[in-house]
């Protein structure tokens, strides 16, 4: 998904929108969607450890295979490890949401970390993304309407794809 001049760039869906030289090479998100996403994550920053721990716990409960990556941590509910690890993840996602067009630059260090050190099979990213959506729904109720859900799903898919970029 790097800016690739040989692939067709999809026309921007918003007349006043960010240009198509966005880091991901095309614009999946309208300006309105980007604002919506940034607003939601902004509210999560003060409760990042709680939200992050919940996302991880949901993922490891629903998809037990993901526990294999956490042999080095105490992953029982309410464990401080879950909270501190969850916090890191939520803050990274929240930080990136403030300037989605610069995703490739912002995430470069995390790309390297995941590709060379963590080597988490990228199929797991979508499992965590799904659990993030469930967590947001449980906390936001009706406010997490289909439009917000769609925007957030697109953002998290792009985030996951960029994270896996340096794997091979």
């Amino acid at each position: 998904m790097q800016a690739n001049h040989t692939c067709a760039v999809r026309p921007s869906r918003h007349s006043t929108s960010t240009h198509s030289t966005s880091a991901t090479g095309y614009n999946m998100l309208t300006d309105h969607e980007k604002e919506l996403i940034a607003k939601i994550w902004d509210k999560m920053i003060p409760v990042a450890s709680e939200i992050g721990a919940e996302c991880l716990l949901r993922m490891m409960t629903t998809f037990p295979g993901t526990k294999t990556y956490f042999a080095h941590l105490d992953i029982r509910p309410r464990s401080p490890h879950l909270r501190s690890h969850g916090k890191k993840i939520v803050l990274a996602i929240a930080e990136c949401s403030k300037d989605i067009s610069s995703m490739m630059v912002t995430l470069a260090p995390l790309q390297t970390l995941h590709a060379y050190k963590l080597r988490i099979d990228p199929c797991n990213f979508k499992l965590l993304c799904h659990c993030i959506l469930v967590t947001l729904a449980a906390h936001m109720g009706d406010e997490f309407d289909p439009v917000a859900h769609a925007a957030m799903d697109k953002y998290l898919s792009a985030f996951a794809a960029v994270l896996a970029e340096k794997y091979r």
């Binding site: 949901r58 629903t62 509910p77 799904h130 469930v134 729904a137 449980a138 997490f144 859900h149 769609a150």
Partner: protein, 147 residues
């Protein structure tokens, strides 16, 4: 055969007994059509699906959402033989409706999110685990007769 723990059985029965199918069904289906717009390919004769508001207000979508949830109820009532319960529906979806079975998973994910939004904090990680295990069995059974 799928093994269900007492907790899983109780959780599934509890969630569905308290659920308003006529509310959740339309909400889940319309959400799926909004979040994964390519699923609209199966609903060409449903009229206006032009944007989120149109989809959520579309009466044919709502009616079909109710149909789907009532179909799901059959699995709730037959948890020990979901595969047999859905054998015919699986053939229908494969041979007549020609629905890509991955769509079952997409709809299941949307249903999970609708239920999470309705239940809030009561939709704990363990409850989610049980709910998703149930839906995974449903999804697998519906995809079983595809050849």
């Amino acid at each position: 055969m799928v093994e269900w723990t007492d907790f899983e059985r109780a959780t599934i029965q509890s969630i569905f007994s308290k659920m308003d199918y006529d509310d959740v069904g339309p909400a889940a289906l319309s959400r799926c059509l909004v979040v994964y717009p390519w699923t609209q390919r199966y609903f060409g004769n449903f009229g206006n699906l032009y944007n989120a508001a149109a989809i959520q207000g579309n009466p044919m979508v709502a009616a079909h959402g109710k149909t789907v949830l009532r179909g799901l109820d059959r699995a709730v009532k037959n948890m020990d033989d979901i595969k047999a319960t859905y054998a015919e529906l699986s053939v229908l979806h494969s041979e007549k409706l020609r629905v890509d079975p991955d769509n079952f998973r997409l709809l299941a994910d949307c249903l999970t999110i609708v239920v999470a939004a309705r239940m809030g904090a009561d939709f704990t990680a363990d409850v989610q685990g049980a709910f998703q295990k149930f839906l995974a069995v449903v999804v697998s059974s519906l995809g079983r007769q595809y050849h």
